[in-house]
Every structure is written in C-alpha cells, then in structure tokens.
C-alpha cells in the first residue's frame, strides 16, 4: 500500500528535488536580463528582422523538445566547435547541471518574453516621452520609468519560466541525459523510477511534489504581481 505518512523521502528523491529547484532558479534568473532585453526590443523597436526574432524566440514552444535538446547537443556538446571553444574557458554544459539549466531556460524563454513584452507594451509610451523632455536619456527612461512600471509582468514572466523549468524533460534528457545528482531533475527522476519494477510509489511521491511546487510557484507569482500592481497604481503610500 502506498502511504505518504509512512514512506519518507529517500536521499535520491531529495537530491532530485534540490537539483530541480537549483536548475529552475538559475534558469529563470540567468535568462531574465535577456528576456527583458528581447521583450523590450520586440515591444518598442522597429527593426528589420523583428518578426524573425519573434519567431525564433517562440520556436521552442512549438518544436518537439527533443529537437531543441538535440540542437543544443549539436552546438554545445564537447565535440561541437562552440562547445569545445567554451571548454577552453572552463564553461561546460553537456552532462552538467548547468546544461540542464540552459535547456530549461531556453524552453521557458518564450513564456517569459511573452509576459514581459505584454507588460512593457502596457506602459504608456507618452510617459517615456515626458521623461525624455525632462532630460532623461533613453537608458534612464528605461530604468526609471519603463522598468518599474512593468515590474508585475517581469515578475510573472520570471515565475512562469521557473515553473516551466521545474517540469522540463525532453530537451534536458536529450542534451544532458539523466545522471543522478548532476542532471536528474524531478521529471527525469520520475521517468527513471517508472522504468524499474517497484518504483511506482517513489514516482507518485515525486509527482505530488511536482504538482505542489508548480502550484506554489503560480500562486506566488499571482500574489506578488497583485501586490506590485497595487503599489504602482497608487493604492497605498510608499
């Protein structure tokens, strides 16, 4: 009989949970500056190739994850030219947790950019105009007006990317395989438990934990976004 009360989590399971959180955290954090930059470019700049960039960003959303993982392996694997080049500087992605984070970041990137782009588009461009007549350079306008006013969307985008990273499986397992302690995140661990006889109970525990983490992240993002937008709209004094 399965019962959560009697079966505590084994070290292998804890390892998967901790690794998943680490991978998802770094995936969301490291991709955030790029996400903000790309979202801003798509929202505010008119340049040739804008549609192409937009398509490229959204590609991981529609490509089979295994294809994304394979492409990463082809470009950043130790035997690929770019991967070998980066290795000279001690930067290795393949079969490391950093690779898992990179794969997760790329898979979550479309969601992140979309949320941030929407919130930047919602910032009144006339306020940016007013800021420039007050002497603010484009960089100052961005950091003092655009960025603070799009905080709710940036936060939502980051949390969405985090939640997506927790659940990433296809690209991760293709790119960095399924190495316990290094690249075996929650979904990989669930998959591995399901491959061995008698692993169902461990798999189910991890499934429940996955659900709880994902729900927790989504609720957290809602609460934070609401609090920020209340502050921005002047609901209270600072």
């Amino acid at each position: 009989m399965l019962s959560l009360e009697t079966t505590g989590l084994g070290p292998e399971e804890w390892q998967a949970i901790a690794l998943s959180l680490k991978v998802a955290f770094w995936a969301a954090l490291a991709s955030l500056p790029f996400g903000i930059f790309i979202a801003y470019a798509l929202a505010r700049w008119d340049f040739p190739g804008r549609q192409l960039l937009n398509g490229l960003v959204h590609l991981p959303l529609v490509l089979p994850p295994v294809v994304t993982g394979y492409l990463l392996l082809m470009t950043l694997g130790t035997r690929a030219p770019l991967g070998a080049f980066l290795q000279n500087f001690g930067i290795v992605f393949s079969f490391r947790w950093t690779g898992a984070a990179l794969a997760a970041a790329i898979m979550g990137f479309p969601l992140m950019v979309r949320a941030i782009r929407l919130s930047i588009e919602a910032v009144d461009a006339r306020l940016e105009e007013a800021a420039s007549t007050l002497g603010a350079s484009p960089l100052h306008v961005f950091f003092r007006v655009t960025l603070p006013l799009s905080w709710p969307g940036i936060l939502a985008g980051a949390v969405l990317a985090f939640a997506k990273a927790l659940g990433e499986f296809g690209a991760t397992i293709t790119f960095v395989s399924n190495i316990p302690g290094q690249t075996r995140t929650l979904p990989s661990a669930i998959y591995a438990f399901l491959q061995v006889p008698g692993g169902e109970s461990a798999a189910l525990r991890l499934v429940l934990i996955s659900i709880a983490l994902a729900m927790g992240a989504l609720i957290l993002s809602e609460v934070l976004a609401r609090r920020v937008s209340k502050r921005l709209s002047g609901g209270g004094r600072s």
Binding site: D124, E129, A130, S132, T133, G135, L232, G234, R237
Partner: protein
C-alpha cells in the same frame, strides 16, 4: 532669451511651413484643431522629427537639419507641459517634481523646490501618488516638474483643455504668475480665445500649417483676417486700468482715456486688467446712439472691413480705447455705408464683457 523656429513638414492632409520668434513672456500659438499647433511644439521639444527644421534657443542651435543631426529631447533643456499631466504613477508627487532635477546640467537649488511648491500650492500633496489627485492638482504638479527640470524654456500643449471650467480657473492664475514672476519664455498652445486674451504677451495665429498673423495680443486679436476658431471666437483685446468702484455695483475702467463700465471687479483702483470683447456682442452705429440701455459706447473710425463669410462681416474699429472688432451682417454694412475711414460708434453691453475674459 529668444527662440527662433523654422519648420517644414509634409503630412498626408496638409503641409507645415512656418517660421516665428518666441520672446520672453507667454507666446500663445493660436489656431483651430488640426492647424498644426501641437506638431510645432513636439518638433521644438524634439519628440517629433519634421522634414526640415532649424530651431535656435538664444545662441544654442537645437536643431539644424541641414547641418546635421538634431539634439535629442533630453539635451534640449526645454520643459513640456502636456494636456494630460503625464505624471509618473509609480512615483510620489515629491519624486515626480525631483525627476528632472537629477538630469539637469544647471544646478537647481533645493530652495527653488520649496519656492515652487509654495507658488503652486502643492505642499500638502508631496507624499501622495498622482492617482489620488484631481485633474487640476495633477496639472499643477506637472507645471512644477517642468519648471524644476532646469529648462530654459517651457512648452505648454493645451494644458487646460482636459479640465472643466472650475479647474481651468484654478490653473490660469499659475500661468499668469509664470508670465509675471519667472523670466522664462513660454510657448503656449491653445484654441481658446479666452485663454489667449488672459495670458498672451504675444500671439502667433496658425491656419493649416502657416502663420497668418503674429504680434501683440491686441494687434492679432483685433485683426479681422485672424478669424479665430469659428463664429463665436473672434473678439478684440483691450487693456485698461480700474478707475473707480461705484455704489451701484459697477466698476469704471479707464481704457486709453475712454470710460468703460462693467459689473464689480475684484481689483483695486489702478490695477491693470485685460478685457476681451467678443465681436458678436458689439453693435455698430454711424451716429452716436441715444436712449440705449448699453452703458459702453466707444467712438472711432473704421480701420478695416473683412471679406464676407456667408452673411457676416468683421469690422475693425479704431477707438480711443484700442481696436474693437464687431461682427455684423453684410446687409447692415450696405445699409449703414460702413467702409474704411468712416466714423462709427461701437455699442457694448455691460454684461457681455464681464465674463471670465478678465484678468
């Protein structure tokens, strides 16, 4: 400090082709909607790029499209007050006021802020966020924000248009103080004759992207060729001083030696006032009329009769008090033999000049 502007730009519907000077004081850029007023302001501020432009503020070239790229808005040191106040919603009133100061090359001292806050009466609002403020309060903060940015000139794009009458009356005095107390050129866009009459030192009238009249407020508003914004709009401006208050509730004014009577003014004897006399409130008579209830009769000679607009004609009468415009029918012009040089009398109802056209 003077601003010189020359602009050319071709739009789908019309083209802009104009040049003018903005001296100290308030210069009102006047014209109906769609005449290109706001575009001119946006070009001066640098947030709109015209095809051709040369903009010089005293000796600083802000833009010369023939010589090279123009200065970006943040380097022009020109403050702009928008129709919608455009305060930053994530900042308090105090932070909004301070926004431009940190970028200013000129040092704006802290006591200037206190002074500005006092002048605009926004001391009680400093810790609040823009959202909770009334339209008039927001616009006052926006005025302070533009002035405190170290700007060498202020552009105001119909700053009162979005406000109701009571709020307009609340803001107008601050622009008057700006004109009278702070030596900074202000270019003020408006299509309201009342605002022009009250604020303008200089008027530039625009029509379809071209300047059709410029000069002192009296000269431009008294020019029948500048038929401002539709039938109700035309009206001359007269400067006068308060001579006495009478017991029957009337105030007597001295306008170039002529006496004018109007309902009690809240101003001490000797105080200067500006009167706007709407052209459709003026009746003309070749002979001095007798037995009329109207108290104000100005005599003079006809300086100009405009071309007919439908059945109506604008007649400019040069009187001892200044120029007066009258809107009369073509039939009357023919019947009374009104022509240039003919002596004539203007009859003005006392009540008709006692509106909000005073300052």
């Amino acid at each position: 400090m003077t601003l010189r502007v020359d602009l050319k730009h071709r739009f789908a519907e019309f083209s802009l082709d104009l040049g003018f000077d903005v001296p100290d004081g308030i210069t009102v850029l006047f014209g109906r909607s769609g005449s290109g007023k706001s575009t001119v302001l946006r070009a001066i501020a640098g947030i709109f790029k015209p095809d051709q432009a040369r903009i010089v503020l005293s000796d600083r070239v802000l833009c010369d499209s023939e010589a090279g790229p123009c200065l970006p808005p943040q380097k022009r040191r020109i403050g702009m007050i928008f129709q919608d106040a455009r305060l930053f919603p994530h900042l308090t009133v105090a932070q909004n006021l301070d926004f431009g100061r940190r970028f200013s090359k000129r040092d704006v001292p802290a006591h200037a802020v206190t002074q500005m806050v006092d002048m605009l009466g926004i001391g009680a609002l400093l810790d609040r966020r823009p959202e909770g403020l009334s339209g008039g309060e927001q616009q006052r903060v926006a005025i302070g924000r533009a002035l405190l940015s170290g700007a060498e000139m202020i552009l105001a794009d119909e700053p009162l248009a979005a406000l109701d009458e009571a709020r307009k009356a609340e803001i107008l005095p601050y622009f008057e103080r700006l004109r009278d107390e702070i030596a900074i050129p202000v270019l003020y866009v408006s299509h309201s004759p009342a605002e022009v009459a009250r604020l303008a030192t200089t008027v530039i009238a625009l029509e379809a992207g071209r300047v059709i009249g410029q000069g002192s407020a009296e000269a431009v508003l008294g020019d029948p060729a500048v038929l401002p914004v539709g039938a109700g709009g035309a009206g001359a401006l007269i400067r006068a001083t308060v001579r006495a208050h009478h017991a029957d509730g009337l105030t007597e004014l001295d306008a170039g030696g002529e006496a004018l009577f109007l309902p009690r003014l809240m101003a001490d004897p000797g105080h200067p006032v500006r009167l706007r006399i709407a052209a459709h409130e003026v009746i003309l008579s070749p002979d001095r009329p007798v037995g009329l209830s109207a108290l104000n009769i100005l005599s003079g000679t006809i300086a100009e009769v405009s071309e007919a607009q439908g059945s109506a004609v604008l007649v400019a009468l040069q009187t001892g008090a200044g120029r007066v415009l009258a809107r009369v029918t073509t039939r009357s012009v023919a019947a009374l033999g009104l022509c240039e040089g003919a002596p004539c009398h203007a009859v003005i109802k006392t009540a008709s000049i006692a509106q909000d056209n005073l300052a």
